[in-house]
């Protein structure tokens, strides 16, 4: 995997110059972290010309740097929050900035990015490349909904600038959407333009515990009453560290809106709610984020809202009851645990029959390689995915398992 004679390291050192950061991964692969998009382009252009395979990593806290490659290209050197424009609610940040640093930089300017993705200290590039949204997805949408544009370096070293820095923009095709959630298969994301929100004036969390189906019923009742909570998250006993299942409701907005929604939630269903203090609420949601990474593998299953029960049953049947969370308003079930490729594949096949896509969000390389992040795509989509990959990475420089071997 690594270059035995060290010649790749020497070439890379020459490319990144004295300021470029270079380390070696645990498996001996040289890891290069340029501090500019141009530096990344230089590395990728050389790699594609030389036929070196490249794996892309962020902080390595979500997907480990374990894909076979001659070199690792890291966003570690791209750690600048370049610009926060509070009046326009736009920020431009480099892809190596980690979640916490971003949150702080934005809060200093009275702004907020409504993304609470699972994992800890994840880089912005990783959030965007993997499109892993968290509970706030129920109310605010997916990662794609909070991006205005990005800069990407293609496998052969072209720097492309998609989208822009304005709230609305339909100039040209929306390649930002293609890059978001495609696991880096269409290039290395070097910086992103974020759509921000002002820091919410009020933020309340309510929780209740009960049997799973009772809570799913409560969730549906809340939605049927025309309420769209910012988060409406169901947690398995393991995920919530409780004996029973937990339903967490997060309400965000002005003081008056949040109070009105709190009353509306109470009126819409029969549950007895516990209102968490802001410190407990912060701990509650942080735990939800962090528990996902206690296991090696995380998957998400997409479904319609009324299909959640079936989706969870499928997961329980084929896998286990490790850590399960479900964003009720968004129709997404997330499972974290350990499972063999065979079991995951069985789940994926069964789920496909009932129109539920299963995405491998993170897993060790052998599993990713076997199953692919997306694996079984629909007919037509497979062909499109293949030709888009060829378009953006004709030499197969980037080791990303989109489709898998099965």
């Amino acid at each position: 995997m690594s270059s035995s004679d060290g010649s790749i390291e020497r070439r890379l050192r020459a490319l990144v110059g004295p300021d470029g950061q270079m380390t070696t991964d645990d498996d001996g692969t040289p890891n290069v972290a340029p501090s500019t998009a141009t530096g990344c382009a230089l590395v990728l252009r050389t790699a594609s010309a030389e036929g070196w395979r490249v794996r892309i990593v962020g902080n390595g806290s979500w997907i480990p740097p374990d894909a076979p490659a001659e070199l690792t290209l890291s966003s570690r050197g791209l750690g600048q929050v370049e610009d926060v424009h509070a009046a326009d609610l736009v920020a431009t940040v480099q892809s190596g900035v980690d979640q916490h640093a971003l949150r702080e930089a934005l809060a200093d300017r009275g702004t907020w990015w409504p993304v609470d993705a699972p994992g800890d200290r994840r880089s912005v590039g990783s959030l965007v490349a993997t499109a892993t949204a968290g509970p706030l997805r129920s109310g605010f949408g997916n990662i794609r909904d909070h991006l205005l544009g990005l800069t990407i370096v293609t496998a052969d070293g072209h720097i492309l600038n998609y989208g822009g820095r304005v709230a609305k923009n339909v100039a040209g095709f929306d390649l930002t959407k293609l890059a978001t959630g495609s696991f880096g298969a269409f290039g290395f994301i070097s910086s992103v333009h974020l759509r921000l929100r002002p820091i919410p004036r009020a933020d309340a969390t309510l929780t209740t515990n009960d049997r799973r189906d009772a809570l799913l019923g409560q969730g549906q009742a809340i939605l049927d009453a025309g309420i769209t909570p910012s988060a409406l998250e169901l947690l398995s006993p393991v995920a919530g560290s409780t004996d029973d299942w937990t339903l967490g409701v997060r309400l965000i907005g002005s003081d008056a809106t949040v109070e009105a929604e709190r009353a509306a939630v109470a009126a819409a269903c029969t549950a007895r709610w516990t209102s968490l203090s802001s410190r407990n609420a912060a701990d509650f949601w942080r735990d939800v984020q962090q528990r996902a990474t206690q296991h090696a593998t995380t998957i998400r299953v997409g479904c319609v809202i009324t299909g959640l029960r079936q989706a969870i049953n499928l997961v329980l049947h084929h896998l286990d009851d490790a850590t399960i969370t479900a964003s009720i308003g968004a129709g997404v079930v997330r499972w974290s645990g350990s499972a063999s490729a065979a079991r995951l594949q069985l789940l994926r096949r069964t789920a496909a029959q009932v129109e539920m896509p299963v995405t491998i969000e993170r897993a060790p390389w052998p599993l990713r390689n076997e199953l692919g992040h997306f694996g079984l795509c629909r007919e037509g989509v497979n062909r499109l995915m293949g030709s888009l990959r060829h378009t953006f990475d004709p030499q197969s420089t980037l080791t990303v398992a989109l489709a898998g071997r099965q």
């Binding site: 424009h85 009046a87 326009d88 609610l89 736009v90 949408g141 997916n142 794609r144 072209h158 720097i159 492309l160 600038n161 998609y162 822009g164 820095r165 304005v166 709230a167 609305k168 339909v170 100039a171 040209g172 929306d174 959407k177 293609l178 978001t180 959630g181 495609s182 929100r197 002002p198 939605l223 025309g226 309420i227 769209t228 008056a256 809106t257 009105a260 929604e261 997409g302 479904c303 319609v304 809202i305 129109e355 539920m356 896509p357 995405t359 997306f374 795509c377 037509g380 989509v381 497979n382 062909r383 499109l384 995915m385 030709s387 888009l388 378009t391 953006f392 004709p394 030499q395 989109l402």
Partner: protein, 481 residues
């Protein structure tokens, strides 16, 4: 007419001779869209009645290498639905069934020819609506909205079309049918729904669309504020956005536009002596909460010098205030033979400066510009009234449009926020994107449509694209082979 006879015969065999148009007069109907400055007569027009006919039509055209252009209601404002004599227009207005409304899952599945507002009307009994509300919503189609990624006044809070499309069945340019996305919204693979939305008919034809439905707000308060300067109104907009309040709509009309509205049958009672008026909607579930937010908005408006702030909660009062805004283009259209509705976006904090710059440009080129636009998004619509028969005026109008686009780009903005590039804005694309990025766009399109048959010649100015490396590597591979 340059289309081969056997193609026309094959098409007539699919749709029936009643549903194909080839005469010059019939084709003239399809020679323009909502933008009066472009005119192209297609070789033929077909009106299929369902997905299967669309597939068969596309197969025939692909087989003969004949380009085609999908068309909805033809209200587009960038010449996107226009086709030349070598191409066939496929009109989708007969694919107009609302296939299903699923209130528990908050989504609906429709054919592309469904008119935007009809979907909201059908969902209303369930307490739901389709949120994107272009001002043309009483006529434009969901298929056209998908292709253009249409916006509307209430997209400020609820998001534009792309935030509301879950699944798409598309007929690819080779006749193959693919389903992108899923009804729950999770993609199967990369986000091809996101990529397709806004692709202006160049990636294929959407034949079935599953959209997200949104609860109808129970309480809405409309505020009308008038200002003695455009700058003050612009600054009020920036302040509202930066304050953390999120009105559902925040629209601006300038003096010239107010005058046109008030002189028309759509008169809404806007003060004609104001330099600018702002129309703001605040909505939610709870009357008290909405009132409190409206009060906060009112305070900001007054701090920025609003002369008066009127509040309307009664549906009839609100409808009247909104009628003026929604029909503003119609009102402007009455005051001269031709009207260009321009579309550009600037950062919201740049609005006051850019509006002044636009006024300067209007003076320099001696053209009549009025503004009515989605201020909360920074999405400008400078409208230019003119008479196309006056060649000199038309030239000045074109020059002023280009100067306005440059001013918006200089301010860090975009050449279009919702109307698309089509043919009208092809020339401005290199001002926003470099040759590599344009080449990537073209290469992406070719992944869907290698022969470039679907709506050719739009969006990406081919001459400005750098050579795409995958194309190079393909050619190398061919040479080696």
């Amino acid at each position: 007419m340059t289309l081969p006879k056997q193609v026309l015969q094959a098409l007539a065999g699919i749709v029936g001779s009643q549903s194909i148009r080839v005469s010059r007069t019939a084709l003239e109907t399809y020679a323009s869209d909502g933008l009066p400055t472009h005119h192209r007569r297609p070789g033929a027009v077909v009106l299929p009645d369902g997905r299967d006919q669309v597939v068969r039509i596309v197969e025939v055209l692909a087989h003969h290498g004949v380009p085609f252009v999908a068309r909805g209601a033809g209200t587009g404002l960038s010449g996107g639905a226009l086709a030349g004599p070598d191409a066939v227009v496929i009109v989708l207005t007969r694919l107009n069934r609302i296939i299903a409304i699923d209130p528990s899952n908050r989504h609906a599945t429709v054919e592309p020819g469904v008119v935007n507002v009809h979907l909201s009307e059908a969902a209303a009994p369930h307490g739901l609506h389709y949120a994107p509300d272009p001002s043309s919503q009483t006529v434009c189609t969901i298929g056209g909205n998908v292709a253009e990624n249409a916006g509307g006044p209430h997209c400020l809070k609820y998001g534009v079309t792309s935030n509301h499309i879950l699944e798409l069945e598309v007929v690819l340019p080779n006749g193959e049918v693919a389903t992108l996305g899923s009804r729950g919204g999770e993609p199967w693979g990369p986000d091809l729904v996101g990529l397709f939305v806004g692709s202006e008919g160049m990636f294929g034809i959407a034949t079935r669309i599953t959209v997200r439905l949104t609860p109808i707000p129970r309480q809405i308060q409309t505020l009308l504020a008038d200002f003695s300067s455009v700058r003050a109104a612009g600054e009020a907009v920036s302040s509202i956005i930066a304050s953390g309040l999120l009105p559902s709509a925040l629209e601006m009309l300038d003096r010239a536009c107010v005058a046109a509205v008030e002189a028309s049958i759509y008169a809404a009672g806007y003060p004609t002596d104001a330099e600018a008026v702002l129309l703001v909607d605040v909505d939610g579930r709870d009357a008290g909460a909405v009132q409190a937010e409206a009060h906060d908005v009112e305070t900001i408006l007054r701090e920025h010098g609003a002369r008066t702030v009127r509040m309307a909660t009664e549906e009839s009062q609100r409808a009247r205030l909104w009628q003026g805004r929604k029909k503003a283009f119609g009102a402007l259209g009455r005051i001269s033979p031709d009207l260009i509705v321009q579309d550009a976006v600037v950062p919201r904090s740049a609005l006051p400066d850019v509006l002044e710059r636009i006024a300067d440009i209007a003076a320099t080129y001696r053209v009549k510009v009025s503004n009515v636009f989605h201020a909360g998004d920074g999405n400008l619509h400078p409208n230019i009234n003119f008479d196309r028969r006056n060649r000199d005026e038309f030239r000045r109008v074109e020059a002023a449009s280009a100067a306005i686009m440059s001013a918006c780009i200089d301010a860090g903005g975009s050449i279009t926020g919702e109307h698309g590039v089509g043919i009208d804005k092809l020339r401005y694309m290199p001002l926003m994107f470099d040759g590599d990025t344009l080449a990537a766009m073209r290469a992406t399109r070719r992944a869907f449509d290698p022969e470039e048959l679907s709506n050719p010649g739009k969006v990406v100015p081919v001459h400005a694209c750098r050579e795409w490396s995958a194309a190079r590597s393909l050619r190398r591979a061919e040479v080696v082979a």
